[in-house]
Symmetry: C2
Subunit: 404 residues, 2 copies
């Protein structure tokens, strides 16, 4: 298999070597010429494919969520943390699902649909069904990108419902694979340096869908209910179980501050962070490892009804030890947000107030005044930190090896 | 009235003046010769009374509680904070109720009973009834002591039930008046620099009485119940309402950690601290003014069943703004105590760990492993701080005056 043995080339004092292995990939069958190098990326066309190798192996992040559940907002928050804006590839297919920024490339896993819309209809499977997706190709291409090799990724055209000709994806510093199944296939899962699952409760999903499809698109309540119900069996069978593999889960629930509220306007959002994940130390409130509920609104901070309530504590999630940080309610003013930030620890910020600054910068993004925005921003900072730690560990590793 | 106008003598550059006012006191009727001085105490016999005047006006603390409710333990904790041990006056009445240490004199307000045991029986009043107590004398003598004048205080002999000949009480640095009615009479109340009410809930009182009177003294359950019931009407009429005037209340309740528990072994203790009291800033947990519940037992600290739970938050108590700090459960080990101390603020300690050190020093005192001991110790530290602030403000006042 074509991999960049980066550490050994480092210890060989930047000498490059060339290997010509042969391998059958599910998606492309060819000879690959791999240029080993350190510190910079080389691109060479070979049989119609760009092949790149880099000393800085790509960090791979998996983001799982149902469609229309805030993935794109999260991506915008994440790329903003790194200082750039994500845009579709220039000059390519206008219906490309890919977003590229200086550091990050986001690919949509819908591109690995093995069946197009007609095909799914004929076979009677939904897009959620693994049989409609090519996990072999997904694995091969994520693996290649992680190893610093460019790939020709298919494009699923959401407008036409067809599979368009592929686009070239170069290995970025950070590759985000987002979609329905980033943690479904074990081989793909094992490639992930960090994984996040956006878990929107049925109540909130329903409230949001009503808001969008009924108020804005004129759909009937019945048709909305029917469309949700139709997705449920496959969602529960194939998407939902991925939660157990996630390093972090953002759970979005109806508020508990207003009894009986189901409007989905005020939200209770839980950030579930797995313990013992390499390069990821969970955020905590006041006192690490203990159980705390906190209502910051009081004498020093006056919040409007129904206020804000935080919870933090250790829990068990799918048999794993996790730390949970929960926010119920929403911010009305800046001073509430900075006040909350001041009591959170392990945020991986580079300066005091960075969370607040990021939130304010994108105050027009959905969820900027509640836990979804706060926790997406925090996870963005944690991913930046994880990326920098991996980078640092790689820089240190060959040094250690040469000492030995 | 005989008062030491300390500030003016200070500003007169330590010149002493003598005044001979005449006043009828309820307890003693005489001419008083008052020696004004600064920084030291002069004692002169005059008509059988010692008269003392000092620049350091006595700080007066009121401590209200039902009999047998931990007042003496609190006194021992308080004097320990000041570094001395409290003992009965040397060479006096062996049945004296007074306790004296280097800084503190504790007088028992039972000494102001106007009716002895027989007298109360004849008139059909309990010791809780104001008619059995001489508030006029209580006021005059506390006032005199506060002004630096020694008094001849009566002694109520708890053994004989009779009023014994008086004992001389010199004005101490800190005078604690403890008993049933320190905040009952408005004149006495106005003399208090700080007041504390020990509020033991009926359930806990009952459990404690059973423990002591039934297990240790062989009383029957019925007689215990009857004696509690007999005290109730007067207690509710005259003692309990004093809570509204207290600067701090220590409330002792059954635990909520063990459902249905009424044994009185595990306790939920609440420290209710009034806001806006001069020289007294309430203790807080993590974040001043917000509402927090905290279970310190978790990954970093392992507590045995049923664990420990803290609560902190703003509340209203008798129409006044208060901060409440609550501890449910008990400490099993030192590391639990120091861990809790590390997260409390405004403790008025002189070094980190002083609360824990005080608690360990007296680990044999009742309540040392629960909130009663913790909060009594904390209040002891707060009183030391209050005393030092009053002292400092007096030292600064004449300086300010001479500048003006």
């Amino acid at each position: 298999m074509a991999i960049c043995t980066v550490y050994s080339t480092h210890s060989l004092d930047s000498t490059c070597s060339i290997s010509t292995p042969t391998k059958t990939h599910l998606g492309f069958n060819q000879k690959q010429v791999v240029f080993f190098t350190t510190g910079k990326r080389m691109v060479k066309r070979g049989g119609g494919y760009k092949i790149t190798c880099s000393a800085d192996k790509t960090v791979v992040i998996g983001l799982a969520a149902d469609s229309g559940c805030g993935k794109s907002t999260f991506m915008r928050r994440l790329t903003s943390v790194f200082g750039g804006a994500a845009e579709p590839p220039k000059g390519g297919n206008p219906d490309s699902n890919t977003l590229i920024s200086d550091t990050t490339t986001v690919i949509c896993l819908d591109d690995y649909h093995s069946l197009d819309r007609t095909g799914r209809k004929e076979k009677g499977v939904t897009a959620l069904d693994p049989r409609a997706n090519n996990f072999g190709l997904m694995y091969e291409q994520v693996k290649a990108l992680k190893d610093g090799i460019a790939v020709e990724k298919p494009i699923y055209n959401h407008v036409t419902g067809l599979l368009d000709p592929p686009e070239t994806i170069k290995p970025p510093k950070i590759l985000v694979i987002e979609g329905l199944h980033p943690m479904f296939d074990q081989r793909v899962r094992d490639l992930l340096d960090f994984s996040l699952y956006l878990d929107i409760s049925n109540e909130v999903k329903f409230a949001w869908k009503i808001q969008r499809d009924m108020a804005e698109r004129g759909h009937s309540l019945e048709s909305i209910k029917a469309s949700i119900e139709a997705r449920k069996p496959d969602f529960e069978a194939y998407i939902d179980p991925q939660r157990q593999y996630a390093d972090a889960v953002i759970e979005v629930l109806p508020t508990q501050l207003i009894p009986g509220d189901n409007e989905g306007k005020t939200l209770r959002v839980r950030l579930i962070m797995r313990e013992g994940v390499k390069y990821f130390s969970p955020v905590y409130l006041f006192d690490e490892g203990s159980t705390i509920s906190w209502i910051p609104c009081g004498r020093k901070l006056t919040c409007s009804y129904p206020g804000i309530k935080f919870f933090y504590g250790p829990e068990t999630y799918f048999g794993n030890e996790v730390s949970v940080l929960e926010m119920d309610g929403q911010f009305d003013r800046l001073d509430e947000l900075i006040y909350v930030e001041s009591h959170l620890s392990n945020l991986s910020t580079k300066f005091y107030g960075e969370v607040t600054q990021q939130m304010l910068k994108h105050s027009d993004f959905p969820g900027s005044n509640n836990g979804t925005g706060l926790f997406q921003t925090i996870i963005g900072l944690k991913i930046r930190d994880l990326y920098e730690q991996i980078l640092a560990s790689k820089a240190a590793a060959p040094l250690e090896a040469s000492k030995a």
